[in-house]
């Protein structure tokens, strides 16, 4: 793998391989010495143009467990957060000998621009770009689902036939996009539920089904319900009238939770708005995978960094 910019371009076999490598990485977390020497001498830069402490520390932990050196570069708020700064920053990092750059950027496509720019030769990992994609989040979601469903025999398997309902602000969600491509590539059946204002135009071309009614979706007994974070500013832009109405129509409250099959997973990429898109009971129930998602995030990011940084450049994918 040269870069990881999106899940759209991943094949089933590539995706399964990443998940399998992540299984091996997860084993390391249970050991005495939680560290592998695989990326000794490599430098990983976390280049964050947008705040995200969770994602940054997850990548940082992943890189450190693989013995890479980690440099955190927060470009937000500093003098370099617009315009040519992307180029300047990239060239600076190249001069410092970065082997991989983990990029979080408010603009969709910024990691692609970096990867194609010729400003820097490092492998680029998209850690969330605008409203485009967040591939490692989708990979960790798939990993979490696979582990819950298949346990120790998860290796080598995909998500064939698993039904996943994704609920909320699909329009602005990079997590939703990455999950739609990845989960369907892995054989899952994905159903999107949102008010029509938050369903992207042209979604008819996506390999998913779309509905507006969460109760209908829950009655369909999905294996997984993934709740997306709803941002307060959407209310002001007339996507829906107010938080109360949103929570009533599209929130996973206690009553809906009770109607959900006991084996169904409740997922959330975090950070959660408890009481808005998800009730406290739903977030904390045994069905919730929220904390596993965090732990699995480190394993997935280890796998991605390993696959990106080990091997001669013409390696896999």
């Amino acid at each position: 793998m040269r870069h990881l910019l999106s899940t759209k371009g991943l094949t089933r076999d590539e995706a399964v391989m990443i998940l399998d490598v992540a299984e091996d990485m997860a084993d390391v977390a249970g050991r005495e010495v939680k560290k592998l020497p695989a990326l000794r001498g490599k430098t990983v830069v976390n280049l964050f143009f947008e705040d995200s402490t969770r994602t940054r520390i997850s990548f940082e932990a992943a890189a450190k467990r693989l013995s890479a050196d980690v440099i955190n570069f927060s470009a937000k708020g500093s003098s370099v957060s617009k315009g040519e700064s992307l180029k300047d920053t990239a060239q600076t990092l190249a001069a410092m000998g970065a082997d991989a750059v983990v990029v979080r950027h408010q603009a969709s496509g910024a990691p692609s621009v970096l990867a194609q720019s010729g400003w820097i030769d490092a492998g680029i990992v998209n850690a969330g770009d605008g409203t485009h994609e967040h591939p490692t989040q989708a990979l960790l979601d798939a990993f979490t689902i696979r582990r819950r469903l298949h346990g120790a025999s998860a290796r080598g398997r995909d998500l064939d036939g698993v039904t996943v309902t994704i609920v909320g602000d699909i329009l602005h969600s990079r997590v939703a996009r990455s999950n739609v491509w990845l989960l369907t590539t892995l054989g899952a059946r994905v159903h999107l539920v949102a008010p029509a204002t938050l369903v992207p135009l042209g979604v008819g071309d996506w390999p998913v089904s779309v509905g507006y009614d969460l109760d209908d979706a829950i009655a369909g007994r999905p294996d997984v319900v993934m709740m997306l974070r709803i941002q307060a500013e959407r209310m002001n832009a007339a996507f829906f009238p107010n938080a109360r109405e949103y929570a009533r129509q599209w929130g996973l409250g206690d009553e809906r939770l009770a109607l959900l099959p006991a084996a169904s997973l409740v997922m959330h990429p975090g950070p959660m708005n408890r009481g808005l898109e998800i009730s406290a009971q739903a977030a904390d129930s045994a069905r919730s995978t929220v904390l596993e998602q965090v732990a699995n995030g480190v394993s997935i990011r280890m796998a991605v960094l390993y696959l990106l940084l080990s091997g001669a450049s013409e390696g896999l994918g």
């Binding site: 992307l86 180029k87 603009a107 969709s108 621009v113 485009h132 135009l201 042209g202 008819g204």
Partner: protein, 443 residues
């Protein structure tokens, strides 16, 4: 200065020699000779009337790092243009007689092309109050086209007044049709692709609804309306409907909207970021059909140079716009001539006589007739060239055609009877300026 062009093929297919003396065509026919004339062998070349661009951003004053009147004029000349209309979104804005006179006189001084300034519709392009339209119309720049291009005159009442007011001076409003509320933060054409790429959508309806409103306003007040850079199939339909009702509307399409589709956005290469955005294949085909059947009157470049740093960044942060003067004729050939939709006679209409007529620019209504102004281009449609920054002569290199192969090349451009492009190369700036002074002295 006397120039003898031999063996040129006119847009109507006739072959002729052309003798040019003191700024006008003095003789046509075969076997012409003139002692002491500079001879240009045009065998195999198509003679086109000097091209007129109704929509150019020359950037001066204020944004000289992007383009100047001189560099933009040179880019125009190499593209076969002899006149350009310079958009008003400079700094200061071209909303007073002073600014437009300065731009016009800079153009005249450099001499590569006739520069006709476009005046702003509203003071400071702010969309609140009318600019000094009368003063600009009566200035030495004799402004006849008014536009807030880059911004839409979205206030319906202000638009109505503007349409009415310019009628007083025989002018026209060139509207940048974009509903601002429907396009807040817009980055590309809204549709399945924008959803996939996570880029905020610029919906077709934001253009079509403004055009629909404006043609009805124009009809209501009996004014002329010109629609800038039509980009959607729906817009073509609205304009076709308006023309059928006898509304005095004209419309332009850019070369890039005749050739390129939104699929190019896929790589987030900001060279393809433009406003209005590249649209779907069916929109491109609708533009071509509309241009061929006369619904769309003209091609205008929307030449929009930007410095490198405005494009070397993430898509959202990149400036809108493409340079287009150098490539316009080749792109038009590729899009509508080589596809069999239009002839070079049609090209002469949509890139010369009709834009001149809309802009009230005289001297372009009787091309190649004895006594006509000698503004022309000799074009070789048979060559094909890999388009690169070598072909760009303005300051901007934000061309979407780099690394593409385009047909045709302008070999000669003659403006006011003197050459600005010779053997496919720009004539030296001093020589052009001297010739321009001579032409002015001659009157």
């Amino acid at each position: 200065m006397t120039i003898l062009i031999t063996g040129a093929t006119l847009p109507n297919g006739d072959r002729t020699d052309l003798l040019i003396d003191r700024g006008v065509i003095t003789e046509t026919g075969s076997g012409l000779s003139s002692a002491g004339a500079a001879r240009i062998d045009a065998d195999g070349l198509t003679a086109l009337p000097g091209l007129v661009d109704l929509h150019t951003h020359l950037r001066e004053p204020g944004f000289e790092q992007s383009e100047t009147v001189l560099t933009g004029s040179r880019a125009a000349a190499i593209g076969g243009f002899t006149a350009v209309f310079a958009m008003a979104n400079t700094s200061p804005v071209a909303d007073t007689a002073g600014v437009v006179e300065q731009v016009a006189s800079l153009g005249a001084e450099h001499g590569y092309v006739t520069v006709r300034p476009i005046g702003a519709v509203t003071a400071g392009l702010a969309g609140k109050t009318l600019a000094e339209i009368g003063a600009m119309a009566h200035s030495r720049a004799a402004v006849r086209v008014f536009s807030d291009d880059g911004l839409c005159v979205s206030d319906p009442l202000l638009m109505r007044r503007a349409l009415e007011y310019v009628t007083t001076f025989g002018g026209v409003i060139a509207q940048h049709s974009q509903d601002p509320r429907l396009t807040e933060g817009a980055q590309m054409n809204e549709g399945a692709l924008s959803s996939e790429l996570g880029l905020a959508g610029w919906p077709a309806v934001a253009e079509e609804s403004i055009i629909a409103r404006d043609v009805l306003l124009a009809q209501h007040v009996g004014a002329r309306l010109h629609v800038c850079h039509v980009s959607t199939a729906g817009s073509v339909d609205v304009i076709r409907w308006a023309k059928a009702r006898g509304i005095a509307v004209t419309a332009e399409v850019t070369p890039h909207h005749l050739l390129l589709t939104e699929q190019l956005v896929r790589g987030y290469d900001s060279r393809f970021k433009v406003n209005p955005p590249l649209r779907r294949e069916e929109d491109v085909l609708a533009q071509r059909a509309g241009l061929a059947d006369g619904t769309i009157d003209i091609v205008a470049t929307d030449h929009a140079p930007h410095p490198l740093e405005s494009k070397e960044c993430a898509w959202d942060e990149a400036a809108n716009g493409m340079v287009g003067l150098e490539s316009a004729l080749s792109v038009v050939q590729a899009a509508v001539v080589d596809t069999g939709l239009m002839s070079f006679a049609d090209v002469a209409r949509v890139l010369s006589s009709k834009p001149a007529e809309i802009g009230r620019l005289s001297g372009y209504d009787a091309a190649f007739e004895v006594g006509a102004h000698a503004n022309l281009a000799l074009y070789d449609p048979a060559v094909s060239r890999a388009f690169s920054t070598e072909q760009l002569h303005g300051k901007g290199i934000n061309s979407p055609y780099l690394a593409r192969t385009l047909p045709g090349q302008v070999m000669t451009t003659i403006h006011d009877g003197y050459a600005t492009v010779r053997d496919g190369r720009l004539v030296d700036a001093d020589e052009v300026a001297d010739a321009a002074r001579e032409a002015v002295a001659r009157g």
